[in-house]
């Protein structure tokens, strides 16, 4: 077992577990409906959200309808035409036109402009929180390059700031704000969990010397985790640690800020997104690591790899992911894998939208999978063209839209079924939960697994 006492932060040794998160507790003032005051607040907020991408995306739609087949909602629920991406975006666009379109000043109805009424705002709420996962598949199929992801995030930010956001989603963000991670895992409990996982790891044959170093200054990689892992899926931490140890990777985990998620990507509040990113940034500086290493988490990866440097104005370290590191380890021959352990199973891989389409990582997971299994079948739509599973954009944190979320997973379920796979691989915790649900709902009979879990079984320890 690792000697945790000597690696605890100094202040923690002296004062016990430190208060993580912000010093003040926060409960976001959520309003039950779109009152005149809420609408007035939204009117005030609109200009602040109109950066060049959002403004172009609002003004640039030509209503050609080419997005209709691109969306997993429209493909899965074809009877509901209001789930067309252009229609959903128009709930926001109508209001934008009312405010900014030149012709709308004279003939608002002619250009489809509408003032922000309670009814329009309610439609916006329904479609942009509960009918879009910001997966950007429509963006990739839009002739005009309309960035629906950014457009929807801007609309969500306005609604959220004015007090209209699904309660559970905002609770998740408030928990992150108040506790330092979105599942309110206290520091001492986290340390105990990591210790326990380390013990479990060391009890495996050939892993007696493996460690999960906490707060090790100067480690090459600072591994960040999704809070679901210490809370519900500790074996994924164990699996990741096993692979990293087997490959001789010098890594550490922070006992303070280790949460790679950033649900402020989903509610559109940049100040929160920056705050959560800054905690990770500060830990990187404190631990003096060379690489910030994202665990297997879709939006978490994108948030760290691509958005964090923008939120913070650049970073003096490198950022990568376990997906990429696993592929590198395999390509360098640093671990040996026995594919036969997975014989009898057929695998397919679901590309998380934030990792592939918005992140540019899709060959690395395939490098890992091909090294570990013999029977791998691609889905019809894969890589950057993969359909969203339906669990993105914070959808799993909005129980009021669960029925639609499960229905929207049908196109993915159909593609999985067509592969005949018994195991669905993926690298995202939101995808994990959604895929498990749709696997059960659509009776796919397939289990869901991430890459670390795949590798840990196939690793041959010397």
């Amino acid at each position: 077992m690792a000697d945790v006492a000597h690696i605890k932060p100094k202040d923690q040794q002296e004062q016990g577990p430190m208060k993580l998160g912000t010093q003040e507790g926060r409960k976001w003032p959520i309003k039950p409906e779109f009152t005149p005051e809420v609408l007035e607040e939204m009117e005030k907020l609109l200009p602040s959200k109109l950066n060049r991408i959002v403004a172009t995306s609002l003004a640039g739609c030509i209503h050609c309808g080419m997005c209709s087949d691109a969306c997993h909602y429209t493909r899965s629920i074809p009877e509901d035409k209001t789930l067309l991406p252009a229609y959903k975006a128009d709930r926001f666009r109508k209001w934008y036109k009312w405010r900014y379109d030149w012709l709308a000043k004279l003939f608002p109805s002619f250009v489809g402009a509408q003032p922000l009424t309670k009814e329009l705002a309610k439609e916006m709420y329904d479609k942009l929180w509960g009918g879009c996962t910001m997966c950007r598949r429509c963006t990739f199929n839009c002739p005009m390059g309309v960035d629906y992801g950014m457009l929807v995030r801007a609309a969500r930010g306005i609604m959220c700031q004015a007090g209209r956001i699904p309660q559970h989603l905002q609770d998740t963000i408030d928990t992150h704000y108040n506790s330092g991670n979105n599942m309110a895992v206290p520091q001492d409990e986290f340390i105990e969990t990591i210790e326990w996982i380390e013990e479990e790891l060391q009890s495996e044959d050939g892993c007696e010397d493996f460690t999960i170093p906490l707060d090790k200054k100067g480690a090459k990689y600072f591994l960040t985790l999704n809070p679901r892992e210490p809370k519900y899926y500790p074996l994924t931490i164990q699996a990741t640690a096993k692979v990293l140890n087997a490959a001789g990777v010098d890594f550490t985990i922070s006992s303070r800020y280790w949460d790679l998620t950033n649900y402020a990507m989903f509610n559109g509040i940049d100040s929160d997104a920056k705050l959560f990113a800054s905690w990770i940034f500060d830990e990187m500086k404190r631990l003096e690591c060379e690489y910030l290493l994202s665990g297997e988490c879709g939006h978490g990866y994108r948030g760290l790899r691509w958005e964090l440097p923008n939120w913070l104005g650049g970073v003096p370290f490198k950022i990568t992911s376990t997906m990429e590191l696993f592929a590198k380890i395999i390509q360098e021959g640093r671990i040996t894998l026995d594919k036969s352990v997975w014989d009898g199973q057929r695998f397919t891989y679901h590309d998380s939208c934030n990792i592939a389409r918005s992140g540019g990582v899709w060959e690395e997971p395939r490098t890992v999978i091909r090294a570990a299994v013999n029977d791998f079948v691609e889905m019809e739509h894969n890589r950057e063209q993969s359909f969203c599973c339906g669990g993105g954009g914070g959808a799993l944190a909005m129980p009021e839209f669960s029925q639609r979320r499960i229905a929207a997973g049908k196109v993915k379920a159909d593609e999985i079924r067509a592969t005949g796979a018994t195991v669905i691989l993926q690298s995202c915790h939101n995808c994990t939960d959604q895929l498990k649900e749709i696997s059960e709902h659509y009776k796919l009979g397939a289990r869901v697994m991430n890459l670390a879990e795949l590798l840990t079984e196939a690793i041959v320890l010397k």
Binding site: N51, R52, A55, H63, C67, L84, Y87, F110, G145, G359
Partner: protein, 257 residues
């Protein structure tokens, strides 16, 4: 007088009598034969040139204002270590229009894409005709004019089909505003008028009622388009370049280039 020389129709034009809008060098000499000439009344000349220039200036001003308003807004930052080339991504994205295989939405709708190509070529040719006819009419030989006419005719048919699609396809109908119907209808009528106008032009009739309607519509377009969805071509480069920069930089686009 019209006469046929082989397969090419030549139109002999008499000396230009109206106050000319060409310089001295372009004035016809007696007995000179040119392939085509825009012999029109002074009134039509005014419509074809000074009025168009004023309207063009108005359009350019409106577009400049539109672009200025857009450029004033903060652009997308990119402080992350790049995996790809943002510039190459932008070029790749801009070239999307000539790569129907690049997007699933066009790959699976090649007929729709072909319509788009013909329609937009016709737009360019029709706009071109409004310049060539008054300014360089000799370019508008019967052969060239026939090409213009064919594209206008095809675009007219495509326009009719697009109106039908907008009316009958439920998901398109629910996203359509009156501006969407008006824009496509206007373009369709414009192509129809252009088709007939070109036909009459080939017959050696530069000033007809159709030509008047054609240029009156052009005038209206120049004034109306900056306010309508037809101005999407101004936003097109912005949308595509930003898309290309973001996803090119992230190594999502043109990986093999």
């Amino acid at each position: 007088m019209r006469e046929n020389q082989g397969s090419v129709t030549i139109i002999e034009i008499q000396y230009w009598e109206a106050p000319t809008f060409h310089d001295e060098n372009t004035l016809m000499k007696k007995g000179e034969i040119r392939t085509m000439e825009n012999k029109v009344s002074y009134a039509l000349y005014v419509l074809q040139e000074p009025v168009q220039y004023v309207c063009l200036l108005f359009m350019a001003t409106m577009y400049s204002l539109k672009i200025y308003q857009l450029m004033k807004k903060p652009g997308p930052p990119e402080k992350a270590e790049l995996k790809g080339d943002r510039f190459a991504g932008a070029l790749h994205s801009l070239a999307n229009v000539i790569r129907p295989w690049g997007m699933e939405s066009t790959r699976n709708n090649l007929y729709f894409y072909a319509e788009f190509v013909v329609f937009h070529i016709a737009v360019f040719l029709t706009i071109g005709a409004t310049f060539f006819i008054p300014l360089v009419p000799k370019l508008m030989t019967p052969a060239v004019s026939t090409v213009f006419m064919v594209f206008m005719g095809l675009a007219f048919l495509i326009g009719v089909r697009r109106i039908y699609r907008r009316v009958t396809v439920p998901e398109i109908r629910i996203i359509s505003s009156p501006d969407d119907y008006f824009a496509i209808s206007l373009m369709t009528v414009f192509f129809g008028v252009g088709f007939v106008t070109m036909y009459l032009w080939i017959l050696g009739k530069p000033e007809t009622g159709w030509m008047w309607v054609f240029f009156l519509m052009t005038t209206f377009f120049l004034l109306y388009v900056p306010f309508s969805k037809i101005s999407h071509y101004v936003l097109y480069p912005f949308g595509r370049v930003m898309f290309g920069q973001i996803f090119g930089g992230r190594g999502v686009l043109n990986r093999n280039s």
